[in-house]
Amino acid sequence: MSEVPEDLRYTKTHEWVRTEGTKAVIGITDFAQGELSDIVMVEAPQVGREIKKEEAMGVIEAVKAVSDLYSPISGKVIEVNPKLGTNPETINQDPFGEGWIVKVEMADPKEFEKLMDASGYKEFLAAEGH
């Protein structure tokens, strides 16, 4: 069973979001990293880029598969995890902590409230048969 921390919000494309004031920290869930396994490259959006909710903003390459990274919210990218350039496997090791991918200055904090909470995401995973 993959881990689903209670204090985060989630998307159907398996990203998670945590807020720090008006900033949103974004990563992929434990379930997503487990499915991908062996992440070897992360192409994150550049700092300064304006992104829209549900936009494909990056690419995650694992040994056996490639996956798009969708933005759970709209806003402006203010930071990219510098660790992932040399140690992309950090996402596999600690998807909700050290393996965060980008920080975004939110355009509309209400978008955050509309995302699935932990119990909603758990139900979603169960409904998908995981």
Binding site: S37, D38, M41, E43, E61, V63, K64, V66, N92
Partner: protein, 364 residues
């Protein structure tokens, strides 16, 4: 309901992450593709390959029939020796790639799991008029591949036989781990190693003994994920990806298993023509120059012009970069040629390189 190999319970206990594959429930990975890959390159790993098809061919005309069926020489096999070959359709497309062993009482044919039913139907069709028996042994025999530079060290602890005397693609009938079985120095990784053909009833006991014997070497179970990265680094073709009904062995770089000096075999006339006219495309090795990982079906390009497509692509754990196999139109296949692959991330520069990608493999 997916079928289970004789090692299924052992694999579950070892933490295998199971996926449906070729009608079986098989482990995609255990610890992870990269650590498993590295284990096999540096020490030793164990693959359950019982999902592959094992077919016995015997009878007075077994040899004649096999010579008719496949492109390589079968009559040149010494006792307990193996040969890698393909069998083709009359039009030259590939039915499957396979191993044939010469054993005292029969020939043992080992085919791809995905093709097992198709192959056996094809073999029976082609056997018409030959005095042969074709017997499916898939469920009777468990097959383990013990692969890596330390494979011989580990297995030597379990048998009286001097394994160092067994040459590449040679085998022996022996007692190993207390069980009478056939073993051969073969594999699909590029590393030294053996394949064990174990009566299904003894499969679990042998699994336990092999892992016990390999403790010191850090032996580990290996899944389908690493099996694919290991074979791809060696440019070993995978049926369904790199070769199939629509590809012929000449363009796939398998001319070395097509013996046009044989009096006849299915597909010979078609392949003679291909050889004479030179194939219009070839399967080449492509190495990514910077970042990016090619995936199957990605287009191979030069200056906006489409040259072919990727048939296998992955991240190479040994080279730490993307590698791919793909068919490329004649005139662009020389090593050193710079091409582009159109991936999900955009076009990435690649170079045609000589096989294999990984040059330090330990196989004998």
């Amino acid at each position: 309901m997916d079928a289970k190999t004789p090692f299924y319970e052992k694999i579950l206990q070892a933490g295998g992450r199971m996926v449906p594959f070729a009608g079986y429930s098989m482990p995609m990975q255990f610890e992870g593709i990269i650590p498993e890959h590295t284990k096999v390159r540096q020490s030793v790993g164990v693959f359950d390959v019982s999902h592959m098809g094992r077919v016995e061919v015997k009878g007075p005309q077994a040899l004649e029939f096999l010579e008719h069926l496949v492109t390589n020489h079968v009559s040149k096999l010494q006792m307990f020796q193996a040969v890698y070959t393909v069998m083709c359709y009359p039009e030259g497309g590939i039915v499957d790639d396979l191993l044939i062993y010469r054993l005292p009482e029969h020939y043992l044919v080992v085919v791809n799991a995905n093709n097992n039913a198709k192959d056996q139907a094809w073999m029976r069709e082609q056997a018409e008029g030959y005095d042969v028996e074709i017997i499916d042994r898939t469920a009777d025999i468990g097959q383990l591949a013990v692969q890596g530079p330390r494979a011989e060290d580990v297995l030597s602890k379990l048998t009286e036989t001097n394994l160092s005397e067994i040459g590449f693609y040679q085998g022996i009938q022996t007692e190993l781990a207390g069980v009478e079985m056939f073993i051969s120095r073969t594999g699909y990784t590029g590393e030294d190693g053996f394949e064990l053909y174990i009566p299904a009833a003894h499969a679990e006991a042998v699994w336990d003994k092999v892992f016990e014997a390999g403790k010191e070497e850090g032996i580990a179970p290996i899944g389908l994920g690493a099996r694919d990265t290991l074979r791809l680094e060696m440019k070993y073709a995978l049926y369904g990806n790199d070769i199939d009904k629509t590809t012929n062995p000449i363009e796939a770089g398998l001319s070395w298993v097509v013996k046009l000096d044989k009096p006849r075999f299915v597909g010979k006339e078609a392949l003679e023509k291909v050889k004479e006219k030179k194939p219009s495309r070839r399967l080449v090795c492509l190495e990514v120059k910077d970042k990016g990982i090619p995936r199957p079906h990605d287009l191979i390009m030069t200056e906006g012009e489409e040259l072919g497509h990727v048939t296998s692509g992955t991240f190479s754990p040994s080279l730490q970069k993307g590698i791919a196999l793909g068919y490329v139109r004649r005139g662009h296949t020389k090593s050193g040629t710079e091409l582009k692959i159109r991936t999900r991330r955009g076009e990435i520069p690649v170079e045609v390189v000589k096989p294999p990608f990984y040059k330090n493999a330990s196989h004998k």
